[in-house]
Amino acid sequence: MILVLIDHDRGELDQLSLQALTAARKLGQEVEAIVVGKDGASLATIVGQYGAKILHVAAHADLTDYTPMASGRALKDLVEKLKPAAVLAAGSPRGNEQLAHLAAFLDLPMAAECFEISLSSSADSPHKVSRSRWAGNLIEDAHVYSQLLIATIVAFSTEPESAAGPAASIVEFAPSLTPSDTQVRVMSRDAGDTGGGVTLADAKVIIAGGRGVGGSAGFAKIEELANLLGGAVGCSRVVTSSGWRPHKEQVGQTGTKVAPDLYLAAGISGAMQHIAGMKNSKTIIVVNTDPEAPIFKYADYAIIGDLHQILPALTAAIREATREAKA
């Protein structure tokens, strides 16, 4: 049996968990699921639809919100009882964190961010996994020496596929929590500063600047174009670590991952850590003085030249074109 941790936020499903369920089904064994906290019981229908027969619900008065170490404890209790062949979860910050707690409790290896899994066929041979390194730019093939495989599934490596299954039957259990398990948990939250404008993650158009912009003043040209197109400003890490723009505008591996309809990258070289955050954009346009810059490989269209001349000219030309269209 494969046990899949379904992550949720106070009852709201984390969609990536459906990818983990889909990946689990491909291993050719029965699939069961677990949610931590009573709120998760509402997910029995969708979890069943994606192929889990049983939804185990870890219920406890202290489990009202995300409590990562307690999740690890609940998983441990269930693993010891049911002896699954593998425990899987989504390769998300929460999925990785909760399974790391399980792995630490059991002192067993964990393979994070896997593309592929093949379970061992006998007790003394290892499991085989292919996992992501360097933000998905390298694939590591590895052996995992442990009877129980603990692994997370890299986001967007599998499309969630419905199994058209009936609602999973709910089996509630009380995890054996200790006080230290529930010490760290979400105490409160706030909506963050939306600032009225379009947020990076939701923007349909992103105009992004890199080191080539030359300084915070140069970003006026980027802002103007972004405003004109109803889009958001993005930037590279060089820009945030130089203090030219706030970190919330950083696109990439350690910034925000985006997939807008249009991503225009000006003065950005295209380091793989930047590419990791924007390669799923529908149309990518590049403005760069150096035709050898790696970003050209990932772009759809490009202009070779100085952004300080091209962007103002582009802004003016778009204004002109929209005026003509209105007239």
């Binding site: 994070a112 961010e113 992501s132 052996h143 020496y145 010490q183 909506a191 350690t254 202009i303």
Partner: protein, 251 residues
């Protein structure tokens, strides 16, 4: 306030990755080395805490003897001292690394009030060494921290999620893992570099370790890219770009 930061020497790869002939590692002949951005934020956070509250900042790494270079750079921005657990250059798996870090921490006279990790390592990104260390030391751990403060022995931290910010608290001694954006790491100054040369680094040779997560080989992920259509050079190409924007429906 005694703070410990754990960091890892990694190649500074940005462009195309090239592998060694045995496909076990990245070819580093033409690459520099550094630490992950998250860990730069970890060191900066440690330096700031010691500036505000006094105390010491210790750095800890498991890696090849050359990792001294990364320790010296981080000592130059304000750490007090460093510990280097020397390997033969082979990467250790997360369990082995965590166990070695735990042994080193337990061997210290200083009982660190706060231990800071990066959220994940730049190269192997196992997302776990910190959690393992927290369990072994029986300490609370708050991960993916983007804002933090310490008041009356209580640590309060924010984690950024898609819907905003989550707030967490824990008593000291504790462990946190931090993310890029927590602060703006400073660059080492020339006097800082001079002082760093004389700061103590304790070296300890490690015995080879048998991994339970065993790296077999690496492959470079195929990129689906075909390359851009060049619209032209300079402002003369702008009208062509405007036509593209019309075609894709942006304007």
């Amino acid at each position: 306030m005694d703070v410990l930061v754990c960091l890892k020497r990694v190649p500074l790869a940005g462009g195309t990755l090239i592998l060694t002939p045995d496909s076990k590692d990245i070819e580093t002949k033409h690459l520099g080395f550094g630490i992950s951005p998250h860990e730069e934020n970890a060191v900066e956070a440690g330096v700031q805490l010691v500036e505000q509250m006094g105390g010491t900042l210790t750095l800890l790494t498991l890696g090849p003897p050359d990792a001294e270079e990364q320790l010296r750079t981080q000592l130059a921005i304000g750490a007090t001292r460093a510990i280097l657990l020397e390997t033969d250059g082979q990467e250790w798996d997360p369990q082995g690394t965590a166990a070695a870090l735990v042994d080193a921490i337990n061997a210290e006279e200083t009982k660190f009030d706060l231990i800071i990790f990066g959220a994940e390592s730049a190269d192997s990104a196992g997302y776990q060494i910190h959690v393992r260390v927290a369990h072994a030391l029986n300490r609370p751990i708050i991960t993916n921290v983007k804002a933090m403060k310490i008041e009356n022995g209580t640590l309060s931290c924010d984690r950024v999620v898609s819907a905003g910010r989550e707030h967490y608290e824990a008593p000291l001694p504790a462990i946190i893992t931090v993310r890029d954006g927590l602060n703006i790491p400073r660059y080492p100054s020339v006097p800082g570099r001079m002082q760093a040369r004389k700061k103590p680094i304790d070296m300890k040779k490690m015995q080879a370790h048998v991994p339970k997560l065993e790296k077999l080989y690496l492959t470079v992920a195929p990129s689906k890219s075909t390359g851009a259509e060049i619209l032209g050079k300079g402002v003369e190409a702008v009208p062509a770009l405007v036509e593209i924007l019309k075609k894709i429906g942006t304007i």
